[in-house]
Amino acid sequence: MIRAPLASLCLPLVLAPLLLGVINRTKAIVAGRKGQPLLQAYFDLWKLLQKGAVYSRSTTWVFYTGPAIGLAALLVATAIMPFGGAAAAVAFPGDLILLAYLLGLARFLTVVAALDTASSFEGMGASREVTFSALAEPALLLALAALALQTGSLSLSTIYTRIGVGSWGATAPALALVAGALLLVFLTENARIPVDDPTTHLELTMIHEVMVLDHSGPDLAFIQYAGALKLWLLGSLIVGLVVPLRSTTAWIDVAAATAGMFALATLTGLIESSMARWRLLRVPQLLVGAGLMSALALVLMLR
C-alpha cells in the first residue's frame, strides 16, 4: 500500500490550485466570458515566489512568520487527510481533532498577522473572520463527530475508508445532513459567496482578503497556496462522503474522488454565479444552521 498515501499526499499538493482555476472558469463561462487560464493560480504563485516582499515599518516578527507557519499547518493537515479511500500519510486515533486545530492554528496566525499591521481594515477583517469561524468550527467538529460515530473510529483515514455506498443505505439522512453542513463550512472557510466575495476590491466588505492585503511576494504566495490546500482539504471531506466509491482497484477510487473534487469546484462556481452575497449580519444565521444540521446528524446517529 505504498501508492495509497502517495495519492492522498501528492494529489492535493499538485492539484489544489487547479480547483481555483475550475471555479473561476465556471464563473467566466456563466458570465459569458472566456475567463483566465485554468492554470492562472499556478502562474500567480510562480510570479509571487520570484518577487521580494515589502514590509511595513509598523509590523513585527508576528507579521513575517504568520504566512510560513500558516502554510506549515496546512501541509501537516494535508498529511493526515485521506483521499478517495486511500489512507493518509499519517493516521492515528484522534487526528480529526488535530485537523480542526491545524485549521484553527492557521487562522489564528492569519488573524494576528492582520492585527499586527494596525490597519483598521485588517482589524475589521480579523474581527469578522474570528466571529464567523467561531460559528463554523462547531459545525465542522459536530459533523466529524457524527461521522466518527457512524464508522466507530476517531481517525480520519479509518472513517473515510469505512464510509461506502453501504453507509448511505444505512444512514442516508444523517449523512446528507453532514454533507450539507460541511458544504456550508466549506464555503465559509474558503471565503466564497454567499459568505465572502473572493473577487471584490472593496476593502470594507471583505473578510478574508482584507486580512492579507499587506502581504506581498513569497508571503502572499504561501497564503494563496495554503488557501488552495484548505479548499482541497475541506472539499475532500465532502467528496469522501458524497462519492464513496470503494472498489477493489485503488486508482479507480482515487480517480472518482478527483473527479468529485472538480465537480465540487464547478458546483462552487455555479453557486457563486447564481446568487448574491449575503449581508454580513445574516451570515451567522447560515452558520448556526450548519451547526444545527451537524447536531441533528449526530442525534440521528446516536439513535
Binding site: V30, A31, R128, P194, T205, S274, A276, R279, L280
Partner: protein, 500 residues
C-alpha cells in the same frame, strides 16, 4: 406663498435683467429662503457673487412648490451674516461654499469647514492640503475610526470617507472631497469663449450631454435664440441615451458589489451598447461635440435612425432580461432592501435630487416640474419608489430605463424636419439666467450672470452631486460599515462634478 414680493419669478431658461431681481437686505433674504423651504420649496442654488463693486451679493435660486417657476432674489452681505443652515440643513454645503469662495462668514453654521480646500480660505500654494481638516469624532470604549481614501482600490475618483464605528455599526460618516477641484467656475468668467463648451462637456465626464444642454439652454436664453424642434429632439434623445447608459452601468455595478455575477457581467457590456448609440449619432461615446449653442453639431439621417431604433430594441431586450434577474433572485432583494435607508423627511430636509429623491417617494423631476427643450412637448412619467433604500434607488433606475427607451423610440420615430442649428447672437447684458436640466444623476443647475458687455461675470454650476453627497452620509447612519460600497454605488455621485 408670499415670497412673490421679495423674489422675482423666473422660468427655467428665461433671462431676466439684473435690475429686476429684488435687492433685499440679508435678513430678508434669509427669511425668504427659510419661508420658501418651509413651504415645500427647495434651494436650487445659493452662491456669493462679487460684482464690479467690491461688495458681495448672495444670490438664491429657489423652487416654489409645484408652481413650475423658480424664484430668484439677492442681497448684499457684509463680512458675516446669520447662517441659513442653522434652520435649514440643505443650505449647509452652499454656505460652506460661500465661505470658501467669498470669505463671507455664515455665523452659527453647524459645521463650517472648506469643501474644496482652495484659496483664499485655505492658504498656501494652490490652497491648503486637501482633506486636512477637523472631522467629527465619537469617543468611547470600542468606538473606532475607519478612514477610506482618497486613494481607492477600484478605478474611481478620489474622495475621503471618515467613519465613526461601533463594531460593524456606523455611527457617523463624514465625506471630504475637493481632490478634483480644477477651478472651472473661475475659468468660465469672461466667457463664453471657444473653450467654454469644452469645459461644460467635461464638468462631469459621465454627464457631458446633461451639462452641455444646461449650458446651451442658458446661452440661448441670454441671446434670445430659438432652437429648432429637430435639434431639441436630438438633445432629448442624447440626454436619455446618457441616462440609459449610466443607469444600466449602475445596475450592473450594484450587482457586482453584492457579488451577483450575471447582471454584473451583462450590464457592463450593455452600457457600452447605449454609449455606442450616442457614438453613432455624433462619433463620441460620451456625446462630446453633439450639443452646441444654437442646436446640435450632428444630424441623424434616415439610415442612422433605422440603425438606432434597431440597436435600441436589441439593447433593451437584453437589459430587461439581465435586470429582471435582480428582482427575481431572492438573495438580491434580500441584500438591497433595508440597506442604506434615507427617510422621506430627511430627503426633503436635505433637498436631495434625482433618482435618490425619487427613491424616497418624492415626486421630483426637472423634466416635469420645470420642462426644458423637447420635454415641454413630450413628457416622461416620473418614476418613484417609496422605500428610500438601495432597492428603491436601483428600482427607480430600472423604471426610468423603461420610460427613457419608450421616449427615445417615440422621438426617433417622429423627428421633425428642418434645420438642426441656428446662429446664437450676442448675449444680453446685465442679465441673469437659470437653466435646469434633469441629468441622469438629477437636477443640473447652471446660473449665468452677464456684465454690461454681455460676458459672464459669474457662472455658477450646481451638479446634482452637490445636493446628494450629504444624502449618502445620512444613508449610512446606523448601517453596517460593510454596506458602504453598496450604498455609495446606489447613489453613484460625481466627485469632479462636485469639486468643479
Amino acid at each position: 406663498m408670499t415670497t412673490s414680493a421679495t423674489t422675482r419669478p423666473v422660468r427655467n431658461g428665461e433671462a431676466v435683467p439684473l435690475q429686476a431681481i429684488p435687492q433685499l437686505n440679508i435678513a430678508e433674504l434669509r427669511a425668504t429662503v427659510l419661508q420658501a423651504v418651509a413651504a415645500g420649496g427647495r434651494i436650487v442654488a445659493l452662491f456669493a457673487h462679487r460684482g464690479d463693486s467690491d461688495a458681495v451679493r448672495l444670490v438664491a435660486i429657489l423652487t416654489e412648490d409645484a408652481s413650475g417657476t423658480l424664484a430668484v432674489c439677492s442681497a448684499e452681505v457684509g463680512d458675516s451674516y446669520a447662517a441659513i443652515s442653522q434652520e435649514c440643513p440643505q443650505a449647509a454645503w452652499f454656505e460652506r461654499e460661500i465661505a470658501e469662495q467669498s470669505g463671507v462668514h455664515p455665523n452659527g453654521h453647524p459645521w463650517l469647514k472648506p469643501i474644496r480646500f482652495h484659496a483664499p480660505w485655505c492658504k498656501g500654494d494652490g490652497g491648503g492640503t486637501i482633506g486636512v481638516t477637523d472631522f467629527f469624532t465619537v469617543r468611547g470604549a470600542e468606538v473606532h475610526e475607519v478612514a477610506v481614501g482618497p486613494v481607492h482600490a477600484g478605478i474611481i475618483e478620489p474622495g475621503h470617507f471618515r467613519f465613526q464605528c461601533h463594531g460593524e455599526r456606523v455611527l457617523h460618516l463624514e465625506i471630504s472631497l475637493g481632490y478634483q477641484h480644477r477651478g472651472v467656475e473661475r475659468a468660465l468668467v469672461g466667457g463664453p469663449g471657444k473653450r467654454t463648451i469644452h469645459y461644460m462637456e467635461t464638468l462631469a465626464g459621465d454627464t457631458s450631454i446633461g451639462h452641455a444642454t444646461a449650458y446651451c439652454g442658458a446661452v440661448e436664453a441670454l441671446a434670445g435664440c430659438r432652437v429648432a424642434p429637430r435639434a431639441q429632439q436630438l438633445r432629448g434623445i442624447a440626454l436619455e441615451l446618457e441616462r440609459l447608459a449610466n443607469h444600466t452601468g449602475d445596475l450592473g455595478a450594484l450587482a457586482g458589489d453584492i457579488g451577483y455575477l450575471p447582471t454584473a457581467a451583462y450590464c457592463g457590456r450593455l452600457r457600452g451598447d447605449f454609449l455606442n448609440m450616442t457614438a453613432l449619432v455624433c462619433g463620441s461615446r460620451f456625446g462630446r461635440g453633439l450639443v452646441r449653442p444654437g442646436g446640435v453639431g450632428f444630424d441623424v439621417d434616415t439610415n442612422r435612425r433605422a440603425t438606432l431604433l434597431k440597436s435600441l430594441d436589441g439593447a433593451f431586450a437584453d437589459v430587461s432580461s439581465a435586470v429582471n434577474l435582480l428582482w427575481e433572485t431572492p438573495s438580491v432583494p434580500a441584500r438591497f432592501e433595508q440597506t442604506g435607508v434615507v427617510s422621506r423627511a430627511d430627503c426633503a430636509a436635505l433637498g436631495l435630487v434625482g433618482p435618490a429623491a425619487r427613491a424616497c417617494g418624492i415626486d421630483r423631476d426637472v423634466r416635469r416640474e420645470f420642462p426644458f427643450g423637447i420635454f415641454r412637448f413630450a413628457q416622461i412619467p416620473v418614476s418613484t419608489w417609496h422605500s428610500g433604500d438601495v432597492f428603491a434607488r436601483a428600482y427607480v433606475r430600472w423604471l426610468e430605463i423603461q420610460r427613457s427607451v419608450a421616449f427615445v423610440r417615440e422621438q426617433l420615430s417622429a423627428l421633425h424636419e428642418g434645420t438642426t442649428r441656428v446662429d446664437v447672437g450676442p448675449l444680453a447684458a446685465n442679465a441673469l439666467v437659470v437653466s435646469l436640466v434633469e441629468g441622469w444623476r438629477g437636477e443640473i443647475c447652471h446660473v449665468g450672470l452677464t456684465n454690461d458687455r454681455g460676458c459672464f461675470s459669474h457662472y455658477k454650476v450646481v451638479d446634482p452631486s452637490f445636493h446628494n453627497w450629504m444624502g449618502l452620509a445620512i444613508a449610512l447612519r446606523d448601517q453596517q460599515v460593510s454596506d458602504f460600497p453598496l450604498c455609495n454605488k446606489s447613489f453613484n455621485l460625481s466627485y469632479c462634478g462636485h469639486d468643479l
